[in-house]
Symmetry: C2
Amino acid sequence: METSEHAADAVRIRIDVSYDGTDFSGWADQPGRRTVQGTLEAALATVLRVESARLTVAGRTDAGVHARGQVCHLDVDRSRLAAVGGDLAWLARRLNGKLSTDVRVRAVRSAPAGFDARFSAVWRRYAYRLCDAPAAADPLHRRHVLTWPRRLDEKAMNAAGLRLVGEHDFAAFCRRRDGATTVRALRELWWSRDGDLLTARVVADAFCHHMVRSLVGALMAVGEGRRAVDWPAHVLGAGVRDPRVTVIPPSGLTLEEVGYPVDAELAARAVQARKRRSVPEPATGRPDG
Amino acid sequence: METSEHAADAVRIRIDVSYDGTDFSGWADQPGRRTVQGTLEAALATVLRVESARLTVAGRTDAGVHARGQVCHLDVDRSRLAAVGGDLAWLARRLNGKLSTDVRVRAVRSAPAGFDARFSAVWRRYAYRLCDAPAAADPLHRRHVLTWPRRLDEKAMNAAGLRLVGEHDFAAFCRRRDGATTVRALRELWWSRDGDLLTARVVADAFCHHMVRSLVGALMAVGEGRRAVDWPAHVLGAGVRDPRVTVIPPSGLTLEEVGYPVDAELAARAVQARKRRSVPEPATGRPDG
């Protein structure tokens, strides 16, 4: 049981955060780099007056990737929390006071029993946004919408994307990590056009490293007419990383939302996901977005 | 007639631009400062290979104010334009290649007879955006959406705003400029809420300096319950600049669109607007947004 993993005198808190990833070297802590995890953990340590605070996150986003609905958790000593007042809304305000405006704490709340930000999650939803008419690119959105020089055919991209939806081994679209499964359940991969703004909605139980950006890159080759509509499905079927698939830049990618089951199923889900996907996490905590 | 004001061998071109005003000291050229006008004029001079290029603009936005639908015009020597190919789409691409990504040329086209970016315009539409739940502030929109620490009542703000709509002397909401009329026709002033995002839509024939930000500031005092619903109308009626009206920060303000009449009415409109509003423009070209 997940709940047995932290001491009885610790309280698990759920922290919802959003960030502009432009000026961060991704989520995962790296020595000498400005990361979202490092920034948040430093702010938490200061506000909670503890030596260090260690966060567990739902989606370890890569350098330059943004988030609106990122979720993480922290185990805090009950006495420590009481010493600073025990008021979680106050804690959120204090954190936002410490943090720069490119990262915001949206909410801090007491996690339900069995909750694990990473392993209890049942789905992650990403959006990839791009403008395919360069002169129409909105300067106000340039940090999270990619400008693409050629017009894309979203109907062709959706036809190609539908052939990838389902539970498959996505090794062809992932950066390899030894011992980790690359089987994922891709629920949705759909492009919508609003004038010159194209948005891909990508939902899966979880994503391997570079998976969203590789899927988007493969579909864009179809959208440009450089590849046939069934090409991405052929790449998928081959089951090995294909160098012809471009990993598209991170700037258009945003983790929008993480889904969790009802409270009663949190612990069971964590056990199941941990068994299925878990590999020893490297010291640098490699991203998976 | 407007058309008589530029030499017969000159071509007037209309340039539509958008910009993130955060890192600009406003539209108007100022020595030693990074301005939108200065940046665009330098790019135009380089691309057209002329000594200098002088733009006339629809809305001289203040430092920190953004634009999606800014319009300006430039008179170019016909032979100069021919020498660089005479292709206006090419000119737009070349300009975007020279400019940094916080300013974009959306379109360059040949202006119809009688067109004047400033004096032919019949209306300007601005949006003021703010988030009144600080923890919900979206880091991806932080450069053009103001974060406000207290909840605002948009119904009260709309009730107050409706009393300001119409043709009035807006001296109470303007920074004074000697000799210039402050009579303006305010067509629309309306707040919409989308969750924690509040957007004011503000449309008038033209705006005096600081007018949008003063109107928004006065309504926000009503929205916070610090002032009565009829207070902004009383301020307006007094007809003098009221120090109790706060000029709200520029970061939430965006010039969204400029309206022009049908081509046949362009010149007549310019004559009429020039007669009514024109004052000798100071060397620094003071903003009016």
